[in-house]
């Protein structure tokens, strides 16, 4: 079973995991090994290397944004350059939502990072190519949550 994307990991420069999205079923053990391998490989890269690595039968696209590494694994026949754009698009979405997003935002609001990701990608594929559409969906979902809270007059979170 192949997906365009296999997994997406976000980790800090010290190798601390900030987000993990797996697009194919994997055991906990496998996931832990992959996280170890990815952090080791990516953190060992020289500053001015190209953003593509080969790992097993996959291509790993990684990019550093401030103190966070975004690491996306794609199938061997997928387009690396567009994968870089996918990473960049996700960062832009986070940035729009949090306003000048930084690592701390993602640490303290990790569930929102996932909600945003789930409006952008599904099952390892892009579901919405328009930035504005994704932003509107997130806002609407948040609004739904708040109005429901008000309605039930109980803090939901």
């Amino acid at each position: 079973m192949t997906h365009s994307m296999r997994f997406l990991l976000l980790f800090s420069r010290q190798g601390k995991l900030r987000l993990q999205k797996w697009f194919t079923p994997m055991s906990e053990r496998e996931k832990k090994k992959i996280i170890r391998d990815m952090t080791t490989m990516v953190l060992a890269r020289q500053p001015r290397s190209c953003n593509f690595l080969h790992w097993k039968d996959l291509k790993v696209i990684y990019k550093r944004y401030a103190s966070l590494y975004f690491c996306l694994a794609i199938e061997n026949q997928e387009n690396e350059l567009i994968a870089l754009e996918v990473i960049h698009r996700y960062v832009e979405l986070l940035d729009k939502y949090f306003g000048n997003v930084c690592e701390l935002d993602i640490i303290f609001n990790f569930e929102k990072a996932y909600f945003i990701l789930d409006e952008f990608l599904i099952g390892g594929e892009i579901q919405e190519t328009s930035k504005q559409m994704v932003n509107r969906s997130i806002e609407a979902s948040d609004m739904l949550q708040e109005t429901m809270e008000e309605y039930m007059s109980k803090p939901a979170f």
Partner: protein, 786 residues
């Protein structure tokens, strides 16, 4: 949306822990609290409890006790709880967990929820971790949503369908109609999902692919709209309109156009348009161009378009962005076999990339450069490759060295160039070459008889500079031993004359013998070389005698044995010494992995022993030399043919050698030329097997300047003759006779008719097929009647 205070407090507490141990303590406490909360009734704070657990899970701690809570939360009527519940399900549950089955019902219900955001949660989760069972169960529902819902839901349903089809292939058929109709939607999200779904359906089922080929014109239209449309704020990325959708459509076009002329034709213009109109100043434009190039190269595009695509890759090679250079290299690598000439045009740029800073780019550049070496560019390419070798990263050296050797062997313009190149590699990267390099180089040197003087001088000089590279030292020792007389003579046309005295030569060998850098094998070479010099020098034989006797008590058993035997050669068998240490015959290369070179080192050692197991391979595998031997009168031991052996034959002590030689009868008759046209020659040799049986061996060779591929031979014989063709040794004939193809034909002529054979030769040269026929009427060494 207001942040979760309890969640953030916990996160802060965990982060302020100063040690791993402290962190574990905090986590344990928190997990205990969460567990307690789970057990309590609905208290309005359930979702933030689960969120806390998910955070703890991300840090790597176990969280399986939260699985049932996810199931409960998903079933809750509250959106906030559903949201976190579904997130938890995606993080903690997978199809292997039993609990995942329990959410099937909730998903089913939520798929038809009145609120699209709830529907969305269900769709997302199903597409993320839906098991095959769940997929089967819910497929009809997804199909319904694909047809009748708003765009927001349709686009998610499409990707859900993709997941279902990947999990349960048979369900693909169900989604074909819906996928087809989704192509007429205007919403980009839905279109993108539809294209992904169609790609999946086509890749799984070739019949479905056939049906979807009809959509090519629609896809071309959509692409045209994207490429030629003006600025669209909704979808613009750096001047490109929806690059993600463009790339996906190009991918689908690739799949539909592959191996199909008609489809490829209808997308030709569009691809040319995209290739020329897309702005390549930003990465995103290059991403689209890249996908276009991949598509052009994979379908049956016309040659002009292919050249355009390769030129785009060539441009990519000059791009400042190393990512772009890297993918250009990988793409060129894939097509260097099929579009060789097109790639050759960019050879200069590729070779420049050998100097790139990035290790991945360097590696690709090396592979591509090696693939582009040909007879016409060998000299300039080798300069660049050798330059690369001297400064390349250590992990690439072995690969570079072996690539250089292969290229040198295939295309060496002269023997001297070949030897120089191999020496250069040994000097630069001697530690990274393979073991066979030493015997291969020795074999090469023995074959270049005019260059012995030049070679030994060059190697001697290299030895003086550096004795750490074992392979180089071994070859140098061998040469000094073998051609020491030429070294001492001093006058060599090709290099500057230098005076080397006997002491100098012996000093060099002794330095190697005594150095801690020399491996045992190297010392063996040095000792044997020293011994050989005893017949090539005049004044210092005593010095050699003493060296040899010292090593007679060496701790290394191998060296000790040699020294003892050489000692014996000095004493008891001194009358044989000259003959034994004679100049070596030319070493013939019989097969690629052939280790003849190693045994030449042994052959000299073995002869003095009483058993005389001598270099059997050396003699037995060279029947041709047997034939020559009788033609050459015994002469001075300078000629590198087997004249040395004829001296053995004359000597009394070489009795066993003679027997060995005498006992060897060539069973084959000399080959005859049967066909010679266009540089392709076919020789024929026969071996009579029985009264009616005959084995014919056909050997083909190509002396032209272009490689030939798909080389095949077919044979026909008179009716009563039985013919059986064995498998040929290969089907490619490289240029300039560097390798041959042989094929055996077994014939049986029971009726003893006049034997004739018609042979058809076919091959492909530079893409064009060629065929010819030749009739063979006489078979060498046989009467016309078998």
């Amino acid at each position: 949306m207001s942040p979760s205070v309890p969640l953030q407090e916990m996160i802060r507490a965990i982060r302020s822990a100063r040690t791993q141990c402290e962190e574990r303590g905090v986590i344990q406490r928190e997990c205990a609290a969460i567990r307690a909360q789970f057990r309590q009734a609905d208290n309005g704070g359930r979702s933030h409890n689960l969120a806390k657990l998910l955070y703890v899970h991300m840090l790597g701690y176990p969280a399986h006790f939260g699985q049932m809570e996810c199931v409960r939360m998903i079933a809750s009527p509250r959106y906030s709880e559903k949201r976190v519940g579904y997130l938890g399900a995606m993080m903690l549950l997978d199809e292997k967990q039993d609990a995942s089955l329990l959410i099937t019902n909730s998903i089913k219900n939520d798929l038809s929820h009145s609120n699209q955001y709830v529907q969305s949660l269900a769709l997302c989760t199903l597409a993320c971790m839906g098991s095959a069972e769940m997929c089967r169960d819910l497929a009809p529902e997804i199909d319904r949503l694909l047809r009748a819902s708003n765009s927001y839901i349709k686009k998610k349903a499409a990707l859900c369908a993709v997941h279902i089809v990947r999990k349960v292939h048979e369900l693909g058929e169900l989604f074909v109609p819906a996928a087809r109709s989704l192509l007429s939607e205007k919403n980009h999200g839905v279109l993108h999902g539809a294209v992904v779904l169609i790609i999946e359906l086509c890749e799984q089922n070739p019949e479905t692919l056939e049906r979807f080929r009809k959509t090519v014109p629609d896809l071309v239209q959509i692409m045209k709209g994207l490429v030629l449309s003006g600025y669209s704020p909704e979808h613009d990325v750096a001047g490109i309109s929806d690059p993600f959708l463009q790339v996906r459509i190009l991918r689908l076009l690739r799949i539909l156009g592959r191996n199909n002329e008609g489809a490829s034709d209808s997308m030709n213009d569009l691809l040319a348009q995209v290739a020329t109109n897309t702005d390549s100043t930003k990465t995103v434009g290059n991403a689209v161009l890249y996908e276009t190039v991949l598509t052009v190269l994979d379908i049956k595009s016309e040659s002009g378009l292919r050249v355009l695509a390769v030129n785009i890759l060539g441009r990519f090679l000059l791009n400042n962005d190393r990512n772009i250079r890297y993918i250009a290299m990988t793409s060129l690598q894939k097509i260097v076999g099929t579009d060789h000439n097109a790639v050759q045009r960019h050879r200069g740029t590729i070779v420049d990339c050998l100097k790139d800073q990035d290790a991945s780019v360097k590696r690709r550049a090396l592979e591509l450069s090696l693939a582009l070496v040909s007879a016409s560019n060998i000299r300039s390419m080798m300069k660049e490759l050798l330059l690369f070798l001297s400064s390349c990263p250590p992990e690439l050296r072995a690969h570079a060295a072996s690539g250089i050797f292969n290229a040198a062997e295939r295309y060496a313009p002269s023997q001297r160039w070949h030897i120089d190149t191999m020496l250069h590699v040994l000097i630069t990267a001697g530690g990274d070459v393979r073991d066979e390099t030493v015997p291969n180089l020795i074999q090469l040197i023995t074959n270049a008889s005019e260059l012995h003087c030049y070679t030994v001088h060059k190697l001697y000089r290299a030895l003086l500079l550096d004795i750490s590279q074992q392979s180089l030292v071994q070859v140098a020792c061998w040469c000094i031993g073998e051609y020491g007389d030429l070294l001492l003579k001093g006058d060599c046309q090709e290099t500057e004359p230098v005076q080397v005295t006997e002491d100098d030569a012996l000093d060099a060998l002794e330095t190697v013998l005594q150095s801690h850098m020399s491996s045992p094998a190297t010392r063996g070479f040095a000792l044997t070389a020293t011994m050989k010099l005893s017949t090539r020098i005049t004044d210092n034989v005593d010095r050699i005698r003493s060296i040899v006797s010292i090593y007679g008590s060496c701790i290394d058993v191998e060296l000790q044995q040699r020294a003892v035997e050489y000692n014996a050669l000095f004493r008891k068998y001194d009358h044989m010494r000259a003959a034994v240490l004679e100049r070596m015959p030319v070493i013939e290369k019989n097969s690629p992995g052939h280790t003849n070179g190693e045994s030449t080192g042994e052959a000299v050692k073995d002869v003095p022993t009483a058993k005389m197991k001598q270099g059997e391979p050396l003699l037995l595998q060279q029947p041709a030399n047997q034939v020559h031997r009788s033609d050459h009168p015994p002469g001075p031991a300078v000629d590198c043919l087997v004249s040395g052996l004829s001296v053995h034959a004359a000597g009394t002590a070489g009795g066993d050698l003679l027997d060995l030689l005498g006992g060897f009868e060539p069973a084959e008759l000399s080959p005859v030329l049967a066909y010679d046209k266009g540089g392709v020659t076919l020789t024929l040799s026969c071996e009579k097997q029985s009264d009616t049986g005959l084995t014919v061996t056909l050997t083909a060779s190509n002396s032209s300047d272009s490689d030939l591929s798909s080389f095949t031979l077919q044979a026909a014989v008179p009716k009563s003759v039985q013919l059986h063709m064995k498998a040929p040794s290969g089907d490619s004939l490289p240029a300039r006779g560097t390798a041959k193809v042989t094929q055996m034909v077994v014939l049986n002529n029971p009726n003893k008719v006049n034997l004739k054979m018609r042979v058809r030769v076919s091959y492909t040269r530079q893409g064009s097929p060629f065929q010819d026929t030749v009739q063979i009427d006489s078979f060498p060494g046989l009467d016309s009647q078998l």
